[in-house]
Symmetry: C2
Amino acid sequence: MMDNEQFNLWINEIAQDRSRGASELARRCLTMLADLAQTLPGHDPITFKQHLTDSAQRLAAIRPSMAPIQNLLTRWQQALYDLADSDVETLRYNAVERALQLVEASHKAVTAIAQHSADHIGYGKTLLTHSLSSTVVAVCQQLKDRQLKMIITESRPLCEGRRLGEILSRLAIPTRYITEAQIGLFISQADAVLVGADSVLADGSIINKVGTYLVALAARDHQVPFYTCHESFKRRLVPTELDLEEMATTELHLPQWPHVTPRNIYFDITPAHLISGWITEQGVAMASGL
Amino acid sequence: MMDNEQFNLWINEIAQDRSRGASELARRCLTMLADLAQTLPGHDPITFKQHLTDSAQRLAAIRPSMAPIQNLLTRWQQALYDLADSDVETLRYNAVERALQLVEASHKAVTAIAQHSADHIGYGKTLLTHSLSSTVVAVCQQLKDRQLKMIITESRPLCEGRRLGEILSRLAIPTRYITEAQIGLFISQADAVLVGADSVLADGSIINKVGTYLVALAARDHQVPFYTCHESFKRRLVPTELDLEEMATTELHLPQWPHVTPRNIYFDITPAHLISGWITEQGVAMASGL
């Protein structure tokens, strides 16, 4: 049986997570909702549906910088809404099914993105990426037998780059690991930049791990193309006020000095004019004029 | 008595230092040479002079990215060269004197730079700096009673920003401390960037702690002026092949993965066209067209 305590643990898991990207967390939220729908006691269909909808809204509100969570959970709520209020067991079955279908569709989209990206990038290339994107990892898997080389950043403060380094080493992809500060030195050794995106705004600007904007500036200054790969559901459905999440400054492990305020904002915005192309499951959209 | 072991300890101190900037290390080298001149046993003037010159050359070769060390030590050697090979004790006296005069001149230059910078920057401003420059600290001391606010970077891998945070807090200057990745988010909150320089090239480009180039790109993109303050002897006297020092990658504390090569280059080059002004003891030189 699903109790409130379990749900609060899930809320906490999503709130605390610093290593999974937006797509992975969106899929994780859907499997949580499938579990919830599976185990929630049901007295009448309307209360049952309302409980599921409320839970989806609670999950969707936790990570405001990550559009996919809001978007996928909105789609799931829409599906629930469209279901007749027949009986609890039919509702339960369909709610679980729909959540798992959305997870499956997301996995398929990542596979398609990886293929489009790999075809676009081609043989024997060096890519620079920032932070850890599961979609970029999927691209690396596609390209690992095509002489791919990677340049990766550590991605302070929690160094997701370390997890990426471990993954790429296991794939036997020759990889250089640098601090963020070295991006400007190594950009000229990359054939292209490839990053994921936590959200894509209406004009094509992306919200992604903080530092992505600096990568884009360096790429532009060295005329290195800058691509972002992401599922199309990362587009923000409705323009919302931008909310760049800030995490606990304890992650910086600083002493307390009376006049010093540490800041730990996790995301920045890379404007569309610095982006050469957007790669989704539908294909590659190049910036006009390129 | 000065033995070889002591000198090797000094060599090691300069080689290992990651927290002092180029000016401080240049002055430290001069006090080492003064100590050496003071204590070196002297049999004949020519051997004595040769020993001092060789020692200066050994010190000057340790930190190739730091022009001031080479420049100040070259000046000291020039002074030695100009001295008559009279007797060891006269040579000794003059060698010590000349080293201490150069140290004193450097301190006076820093004071003059701080005054020029403070006058140029003015009242109630927010400055963003990167890494730790003793010259920038001198500017902050000048401006601390003029409502200065600072934004400082941690400066991975060894986080010199922590030492700077501690210093600024002691000066009661309101300071925000950010990771390098957040430079693009905070640049718009700065009225200007002020950084030191480890070397200044003939065309005005600067070699400084790695990441400075990214700060300059972000500043240009937000139309925030980017100033560098440095003693005029940081100019490279002779154009030399650029040597951007790389330090031990153990500083990154990474596990060993077979296909991953960590890199730890300490300096980058900020091209002159991204620099708004150069502040030396002689005054402020603005970029043409600004």
